[in-house]
Every structure is written in structure tokens, then in C-alpha cells.
Amino acid sequence: MTDFKMIRDEYSWDEVHAQIYDATDQDVQHALEKDHLTLSDFRALISPAAAPYLEQMAQKTQQITQRRFGKTIQLYAPLYLSNECQNICTYCGFSMDNKIKRKTLSNTELLLEAMALKAMGINHILLVSGEANKTVEITYFLNAIRLLKPHFSQISIEVQPLEESEYRLLQAAGVYAILVYQETYHREVYKQYHPKGKKSNFDYRLDTPDRIGRAGIHKIGLGVLLGLEDWRVDSFFTAAHIAYLQKRYWQTRYSISFPRLRPAAGSVKPNFHLADRDLLQLICAYRLWNENLEISISTRENETFRDHIIPIGVTTMSAASKTNPGGYVVDPQALEQFEVSDERDMETIKNQIRKMGYSPVMKDWESNYAGIVR
């Protein structure tokens, strides 16, 4: 069997770029008429040629999403475990060369943060860390999950890429989803943004979803950091990656996130701008291409955008997020990974979802489902 690295390398970045920018009006119309879309249809829908069709795309997106997911939005909140990091990522607040106070939550601090989230009604959490392979590693994660599992019905994690055997341990411990973003599929550009640390290994990161899939984790979250490279080309590669994974790990769910570069301490300005209307086009393209993909929007986005996107393809939202370890109660002043744009509290977000005619869903998993080994 081929792995995704081989598929990735069959494509030339420049050719994909040209195909996207050469897409015609006809290609877009053809894609909009079809029920089952291919990757080339997706390519047409993320192209500049699709821009005039945005309203039509949004309407079809709404219809398909409601049919598959109902009028519901699932809510979760991140819980930052640590901002220790041995990587240099030139866009990230946690980057090793940033002279900030480093913090990793102790058991007591972790539970204090967890109780604060519980009090907000949170039942699905996402554990986040930097990449400190000596201190914040599998033993730390397993301990955190053991402490948190009695309190939450769904625990997902977004940490450094791990080995397959470690993912198996996380699966057995009851982790539901693992998120790992490739940042960019452009090999050379990736190298520039990640000059140092374990993360500078492009291929190891590219292979990560395969390791997660083999370990039998229920859901894999993918994405690129929008702003590092041309978002259209990077998104095409992301979709190709999902298409490959879906066929191989057919029992796994997939979700897509859209981290847009946000201001962070010591970070560079994005090279490529993604406007709101581009992001909306991208969300619709994903939905029209893939009816079953879970689509997640974080508090990086502003209130207006988040309010209006509720009925257009989104299935999952974070809310009331703090992006620093201890941010909820323990140490609210600690440095955040990125600046949150939508700072509204959980009740306000829930009411906004209801106002749009949707049900906020706080629990959609049974923690006992994860971790059962036959």
C-alpha cells in the first residue's frame, strides 16, 4: 500500500496552483450540479472562479449539513496543559525563542481548571500543549486523562505528534479525537517556518494521521495554518489527505479546522491573507465535497463571523476559550498561544446558537465507548 507521502509527492505544488487558478466558470457550475463531488470538483470550488457563486454554495451547504447533522452545533472548550516548547515556530506564541514564563499544570491545577470548565457546562474538552518531549509527554498526558476522564464525556487532544504505540495507549485511556495540523503541505516553506526542534521533520508530521488511524482513534482532526502559504493550494492538499485517510481508515471520523494566523507574541505577519469571504468559500467547498466531514470553528474568529456561520456548514464550535495554561482560574495572566477574538461566555454563545434556530449540544459522546478493547 502507498502512504500519503507518496501521494503528496505525486503532485507538484506549482501544477496544483495552476489548476486552481485556471479553473473556469464551467468547472464551478459542473461541480455545483453534482451530488458526489471529486477532488477536482473541490479544486474548482476553492478557485477564484467560484467566488461569484458564494451565495449558491452557502445555500447548498446549509441544506446538506442540516440533512446530515441536523440543526445542531456541538460545543467544546480547550484546556491548555502547558506552554513549554522545544520547537521554533516563527508564528507561535509558545515558540522556544520567545522569552516568556513557561508553565505546565500540576495535578491540582489541572483539576481546578477542569472544575471551572465543568461549572461552565462543558462536557467535551480539548487538551492542548506545546512540544516539550522530555516533560510534557505520554506519561504526562496519560496522567492528565486519568484525572479528567471521570469529569468529561469526551476528551480530545492536540499535542505534538506521537508514536503509534503511544496513540494506542491514548486510545485505551479513552481519548476520543486527536488533532494534528500539518501547518503547510509545502515542504520548503514548512522548513522555513519550523527551522528547529523535532517539528522541523516534515515527513514525520505528514505520517502522523496514519499512525493515529492505525491506533484506532475514533476521530482525526486535520488542518493547515491559514496564512503560511497559499490557502487554496494548501487546502487542496488537506482535502487530498482526508480523501486518502477516509479510504484507508474507514472507521474513523474526520474533522477540519481553520486556524487563521492570529497575532501572538513575537510572531511574524501572515504571508498570505485569507479574507472572511475566502474562509466562507473554503468551508462551503469542504461541505459540498464531503457531506460527512465535521467542520470546526474556534474563537480565533470574531463574533460577527461566528454568529453568521452557525447555519452554514459548521458542526462544532469552541466557546469561552482561554489559550494559556491555567487561563480559566489558575493563572489567567500567563501568555496565551494566540489572541482569542470571540471572548463571549458560554451562556451567551449558547443563546446565540438558539437565536439562529440551532440547538447547542454539550454532550454527544459516551466516554465508555472509547477505550474498550475486544
Binding site: G70, W250, Q251, N292, S359, M362, K363, N368, I372
Partner: protein, 256 residues
């Protein structure tokens, strides 16, 4: 119209409802009332067993309906059996809708895991209602395993495509010793009526009502369609002929 018997319960309504996709709880409970349904399925994974946010359950009129917990999210027989046991504790019912769909894309049921889970759950005293492909042989195997009903799909869940499996549903209905409930894919009241006309014992509808622009009106439409279809079945439908039979060209010589 005759009543439907499943295990120790009698149902006047042959329309079962799902709860997962409604935009708000009031709309959900109003639609259930309008549908006159007496059996409503709820995903165990949506129920907060700590009781801090059990608004889904409290929105339901438990005097008028019977709750049917389902195991949605389970990928294996083991997970489903555990879910059924948790649901029995949380909701105090030994009824369970078995949903084992390891394929999260089309939510197609796994026949092997479903059969294994049915065997275990029936032995544990559950009233098992398994969601399955429209596979007549699997239905017989489930009967032997002690299932209470079979719930073959008309089309993939949430697709609104109607009775794409019609030929197989007809075989299942012809051969079944347990009630046949057509589940999944029913997109329009006419699909529900058709299922009832061919002799299905009940239908389960969720998406078509929940995401309709007017769920309450749509629930009424389904209620009426199910009644109409059932009455037609009980009355006996006429055979469909392509043209009128005017004479008997082959046998008329006998009477000449």
C-alpha cells in the same frame, strides 16, 4: 386500524420518531405531539447521566411516549452492549435500539457486530430493536437470536432518498415472524405511506421531520401518511396492471 404489539407493549401509532436533529427542544416536543408517536428514540451519548443538563429528556412528555435509547456511536458489539446497560440504568428501560455503525461516513450498520450484540442483549433480557441493512437472511438470523423487531433501512440515514431497498423490504416483510420497522432514508410522507402499504409494521422518521421548515406540520403529514398506508394495507391493495383485460384470447375457445 389494528394496534402494533412489540414485546409487552401495544402501540396505537405506527410512526416512531428520532430526536437528534431538531433546532430546539420545544420544536422537538411539539413535533412529537403532532406526530402522535408513542415511541421516541434518544441517543445515549446525548444524555447527561450526571443530571446537570438532561434538558433533552425533560422536554419529552414521558406519560405519552415510550423512550427508546439507542447506541449510536458504538462501533462494536461490546460497546453497544455496554451502552444498552448504561441506558437501562439511566432511563429505566430494557428496550434498546441497536445502532452499530463503524462507518462514520454513511452510518451503515455492521451486520456481524449487530448480530453478536443482539445475541448478548437478548440473553440479558433486553427488548432489542436492531438497525440493519435490508438483508432478509440477516433478519432471519436476528430472529433466531431473539430480536424483538427488525429495522431495515430504506436508504442511508439522513439521505431522504426513500425506499431504495424496496425489493428486499418486500422479501423481509413476507418472511418475517417479528414486526418490521423501516428505519432510515424515509424522506417524504409518501415514502412512509409506501412502506406501510407494502406491509411494514411501522416506520421510524427523524431527518425529514426535524430539518423541515415546519417540523410540526411535517409531523402531522407523516402521521396521516402512516395511517393512510396502513389502512390501505389492511384493506388490501388492488393489483397493478399495465392495461385493461378485455377478453381472454387464449381461453375463450372453451366458451364459444
Amino acid at each position: 386500524m389494528s394496534n402494533l404489539h412489540i414485546a409487552d407493549r401495544v402501540f396505537e401509532s405506527r410512526l416512531f420518531l428520532g430526536t437528534g436533529k431538531f433546532g430546539n427542544l420545544t420544536e422537538m416536543s411539539d413535533a412529537i405531539v403532532a406526530s402522535a408517536s408513542q415511541l421516541v428514540t434518544v441517543a445515549l451519548k446525548r444524555i447527561d447521566q450526571t443530571g446537570s443538563d438532561d434538558s433533552l429528556i425533560s422536554a419529552l412528555d414521558l406519560a405519552a411516549i415510550h423512550l427508546l435509547p439507542n447506541t449510536s456511536g458504538a462501533r462494536t458489539a461490546e460497546e453497544a452492549v455496554l451502552a444498552a446497560q448504561l441506558a437501562r440504568e439511566a432511563l429505566e428501560t430494557n428496550w434498546v435500539k441497536l445502532e452499530i455503525h463503524p462507518d462514520p461516513r454513511y452510518l451503515l450498520p455492521d451486520p456481524i457486530e449487530t448480530l453478536r450484540a443482539t445475541e448478548s442483549l437478548a440473553k440479558l433480557g433486553f427488548v432489542v430493536m436492531p438497525y440493519i441493512h435490508a438483508d432478509p437472511v440477516l433478519c432471519k438470523r436476528l430472529e433466531n437470536a431473539g430480536t424483538a423487531v427488525v429495522m431495515p433501512l430504506g436508504a442511508p440515514i439522513g439521505s431522504n432518498k426513500g425506499l431504495r431497498t424496496l425489493d428486499f423490504l418486500e422479501i423481509i416483510i413476507e418472511e418475517s415472524n417479528v414486526p418490521v420497522v423501516v428505519d432510515a432514508g424515509i424522506g417524504a410522507p409518501s415514502d412512509a405511506a409506501k412502506a406501510m402499504e407494502i406491509g411494514a409494521d411501522a416506520v421510524l422518521v427523524n431527518t425529514a421531520i426535524a430539518v423541515s421548515n415546519n417540523p410540526i406540520r411535517m409531523a402531522e403529514a407523516f402521521r396521516e401518511a402512516v395511517i393512510a398506508g396502513r389502512k390501505a394495507y389492511e384493506a388490501g391493495l388492488g393489483k397493478i396492471g399495465s392495461h385493461a383485460i378485455a377478453s381472454s384470447p387464449l381461453t375463450s375457445f372453451l366458451f364459444d
